[in-house]
């Protein structure tokens, strides 16, 4: 009885409108279907054995526990990046240093793990937090430039991504390079600092638990705390926020700093989970992915994991397809692009879109009727 009440009050509290929910879901579904259709058509064209390619692409990730684990593993950095972007977009900002933050966070975490000797638990925490903090120092620059000088945070953060990348590449190829690796890479990350696998038979590490924890914290931040509430109001309507006495500039910076920090931790977790050495010589792309994830999640923290799992599923399937057939996994880029374009659009499949369709239909019917009457 209590559960039922709670459930009811949940829906009631969020002014659950069945119609809105229905149309939103339908829209997402339509977007996904259209995107898949396009992808399948492309696969049919390029593949010598399309049915097998499509099989691996769609069913592959569920074929066994290991593959399903790959799906989750791919989704974890997307969750980090997605929740990071979610925080930033809540304030209606587009600071894309989440991308650079992944790189910086990963590198710094690796360096802390290698060069600072700490006891087991502390070693992991220090690497994660250190990665996040150093990334935040960088990410603060575009945020502050936006709030005090109105420098477009989008362009400045993208430029900063490249700066961070090349500083990192410089470090791993000159300063912290380990010649034994036979690669431009750091030394080996000690086992003690690594995030361990916590479901045997898969590659899923504690990174998953960390990101789920962060997502819950973000959810609480926005629904239960004053700064979170103020960030949301600032993003929704800056005039209203300013008029009510909210310090808009401070909230704009805060959202970006928080988001960048999360992305930095995400980069650290990625390196500590899946790499022996830090050897990234290009930007990992997760930062941009994060914005994509949060668009699909409608910028709601609790939907971020779902959206990330979906993208993870696409990529895991694409990897399997590439491994088992002759189609490159980058076909997912097309699916992703189409889905975002359609989901983010206001007019595609909105309830008013249906209403217009209906109106058009009625109008045409009336015209027809009039024509008939005239003829008579």
């Amino acid at each position: 009885m209590k559960i039922r009440e709670r459930l009811m009050s949940y829906f009631k509290n969020r002014s659950f409108s069945f119609q809105r929910f229905f149309f939103e879901s339908l829209k997402t579904l339509m977007a996904v279907l259209i995107a898949y259709l396009i992808a399948i058509i492309i696969i049919v064209f390029v593949s010598d054995n399309p049915s097998e390619s499509i099989y691996w692409f769609i069913v592959g990730p569920f074929s066994n526990l290991m593959e399903f684990g790959e799906l989750i593993k791919k989704a974890v950095p997307l969750m980090f990046a997605g929740i990071a972007a979610c925080v930033i977009v809540k304030a209606n900002q587009f600071n894309l240093f989440t991308e650079g933050a992944f790189y910086v966070g990963g590198l710094v975490a690796a360096l802390i793990a290698i060069y600072i000797k700490l006891p087991a638990f502390l070693a992991v925490i220090a690497a994660l937090v250190g990665g996040g903090l150093v990334a935040t120092i960088f990410g603060y620059i575009p945020a502050k430039l936006k709030s005090s000088l109105n420098v477009n945070e989008f362009v400045s953060s993208i430029m900063l991504n490249f700066v961070a990348l090349w500083i990192g590449v410089f470090l791993i190829s000159n300063v912290v390079i380990d010649d034994a690796s036979g690669d431009t890479a750091t030394g080996i990350i000690p086992e003690i600092s690594k995030l361990k696998v916590f479901i045997t038979g898969t590659n899923i590490t504690y990174g998953l638990l960390i990101v789920i924890g962060i997502i819950i914290l973000v959810k609480i931040f926005f629904s239960k705390t004053l700064p979170g509430y103020e960030i949301k109001m600032t993003g929704d309507n800056q005039h209203f926020a300013k008029f009510s006495g909210i310090n808009v500039e401070r909230r704009v910076v805060m959202a970006q700093v928080l988001g960048i920090f999360i992305a930095g931790v995400g980069g650290a977790a990625e390196i500590l989970s899946n790499y022996h050495r830090f050897n990234w010589k290009t930007l990992p792309g997760f930062g941009f992915d994060g914005f994509m994830v949060t668009i699909i999640a409608k910028n709601k923290p609790l939907f971020v994991p779902l959206a990330a799992l979906f993208i993870g599923y696409l990529r895991a399937g694409a990897d399997l397809m590439a491994f088992n057939s002759d189609v490159a996994q980058e076909v997912v880029a097309i699916i992703q692009g189409v889905i975002i374009l359609l989901i983010a659009s206001e007019r595609f499949f909105s309830s008013s879109f249906f209403k217009r369709l209906l109106d058009n239909y009625k109008e045409r019917r009336n015209h027809k009727r009039m024509d008939v009457m005239k003829n008579e």
């Binding site: 239960k224 109001m233 929704d236 005039h239 008029f243 009510s244 006495g245």
Partner: protein
């Protein structure tokens, strides 16, 4: 006179969801006349003209052009029939030249290229023909308001309009500019142009118009030949209502001075928006500020709220200056504020009711534990607001956007009234909302008053002023032109004369 040039029959317009802009209006226009449409703010004048110009669609009724039924789906349809409109807010490209603006959309070409020289010539010719000489090569941003308006008129003329609608053309003009405008309008009339002026300035109607149509709350009160109706009669029909003496106002004795405004002046775009304004608000006092819109009310409330900071003079609350204080600091001192634009400044339309309701309360230490909001307490607070103001909604998580204007206003005012500790500034608190909501709000304002607060009520609704206030100041072009100690001593007609700048009070009592 013969057949009407334009006939609008039984027009009705309702804005979503339930705001009746025009109830039922029938309006006729004869060729070659200057026709005034007079009425208070919100009477439906502009909406009626927007329907004629194809900017709005009427829900009901029809438009006849020379006896023939027409449908204007967009301004271009109206323009094709020779109708042009000069909007109150100019539609000009600030960084382009006068000539560019005049020919936009009908650019002259030479060898496939834009013929700027020809554009200048067109502009110059039109300007000379109608005595509106203006340098075609000057940028709009460098022009004074009066000249910008001329550009708009030339723009309309260049499109060969024969019927020109001017929306509040003199609202932004100085007396000299107004004189010039009238001279040009007379020239146009001589050329058999037909002109419609939307206005509420009676003197102007008398000066240049042939006929006047008076509108009041969405209805047409009547159309009259200007020389057969007196200014007083127009004024009465425009603002008048049956003066019902409701229950006697409780006469509360004002207490200590709370807010003091001293020699406040503010200038923007080279025009004095506020000119040496001084007044005091005491405890238990509702001070009314009346005036035709655009005479300094917006600026006054902006200064008091902290949005405008570069003013001259001083404002003090309980003896402490508010100069250079931020919005937050001013609010923390106990001033609350019901904004004029509730949709932009007042509420977060895409959020839910709860979010807009708690924006001030959320900072209250009793309602949070450190940085954490006490959601239960805030929810209860929101529920109480909704209940006590009778906000019509399913629950507090409804989207604000889905509510009617009156209900949004209830939420905004409720939030601000609850938070007011010393002063409440209410800027047009009941504009455009239904009578029930008006009653609720008036109750609440009276309650505040008896709780020792001071209220500054900026309103263009005279009934509201008579119902709520005792002392009133009248603003005209940023100046105080009358200080009225007891509003009951002053007739509505008299008040109207002050508001419209026909009369300035002699020996103003400085005590207010």
């Amino acid at each position: 006179m013969a057949e009407a040039l334009i006939m609008m029959k039984d027009i009705r317009k309702v804005y979503y969801p339930d705001i009746v802009a025009i109830n039922s209006a029938t309006f006729s226009l004869f060729e070659g006349e200057i026709h005034a449409i007079a009425g208070e703010n919100g009477a439906g004048k502009t909406t009626l003209m927007k329907i004629l110009f194809g900017l709005e669609k009427a829900d009901k009724g029809e438009v006849l052009f020379r006896g023939e039924k027409v449908f204007f789906h967009s301004p271009s349809d109206a323009m094709r029939k020779g109708i042009g409109m000069v909007h109150q807010h100019f539609m000009l490209l600030e960084n382009m030249t006068v000539a560019d603006n005049v020919v936009l959309g009908m650019e002259p070409k030479r060898k496939g290229l834009y013929d700027y020289k020809r554009a200048c010539e067109i502009t110059k010719d039109l300007g000379e023909r109608f005595d509106m000489a203006i340098d075609p090569e000057i940028k709009i941003s460098q022009l004074a308001v009066g000249l910008k308006q001329k550009v708009e008129i030339i723009k309309v003329l260049a499109r060969e309009a024969r019927i020109i609608i001017l929306d509040e053309p003199t609202a932004v003009l100085t007396p000299q500019e107004t004189k010039e405008l009238f001279h040009q309008l007379k020239l146009l009339k001589k050329d058999n142009f037909t002109i419609i002026i939307i206005t509420h300035k009676l003197r102007e109607i008398k000066e240049i118009c042939d006929r006047v149509t008076i509108m009041k709350s969405g209805n047409i009160e009547g159309t009259y030949d200007v020389d057969k109706i007196s200014v007083e009669e127009i004024s009465k029909k425009m603002v008048g209502y049956d003066f019902v003496v409701t229950e006697d106002k409780e006469t509360l004795k004002p207490g200590e001075v709370i807010l003091e405004v001293k020699n406040l002046s503010y200038e923007r775009d080279g025009k004095k928006r506020l000119d040496d304004i001084s007044f005091k608000i005491r405890e238990k006092q509702i001070l009314g500020v009346v005036g035709v819109e655009g005479n300094g009310q917006l600026e006054l409330s902006g200064v008091l709220n902290g949005v405008i900071r570069n003013y001259e003079g001083d404002i003090s609350l309980d003896g402490l200056s508010l100069k250079n204080k931020s919005i937050l600091e001013i609010r923390d001192r106990g001033i609350s504020y019901i904004p004029e634009d509730r949709m932009v400044d007042g509420a977060n339309l895409i959020g839910n009711i709860y979010e807009s309701a708690i924006v001030l309360k959320s900072r209250d230490k009793d309602y949070r534990k450190g940085k954490f909001l006490k959601k239960k307490k805030l929810s209860e607070f929101t529920d109480v607001l909704i209940d006590s103001y009778g906000v019509k909604c399913n629950n507090k998580y409804d989207q604000v956007k889905s509510l009617s204007g009156g209900n949004i206003q209830k939420i905004v005012s409720a939030r601000e009234i609850v938070e007011a500790r010393r002063i409440l500034i209410a800027n047009q608190p009941t504009r455009g909302i239904d009578i029930g909501a008006v009653m609720t709000l008036h109750e609440k304002l009276k309650e505040l008053q008896s709780n020792n607060l001071g209220i500054l009520l900026i309103s263009s609704d005279l009934k509201e002023i008579y119902d709520l206030t005792e002392s009133v100041i009248v603003l005209y072009e940023g100046k105080i032109v009358a200080r009225i100690k007891n509003i009951k001593d002053v007739s509505e007609e008299q008040l109207g004369r002050y508001m419209l700048g026909i009369e300035v009070q002699e020996d103003m009592e400085a005590s207010l």
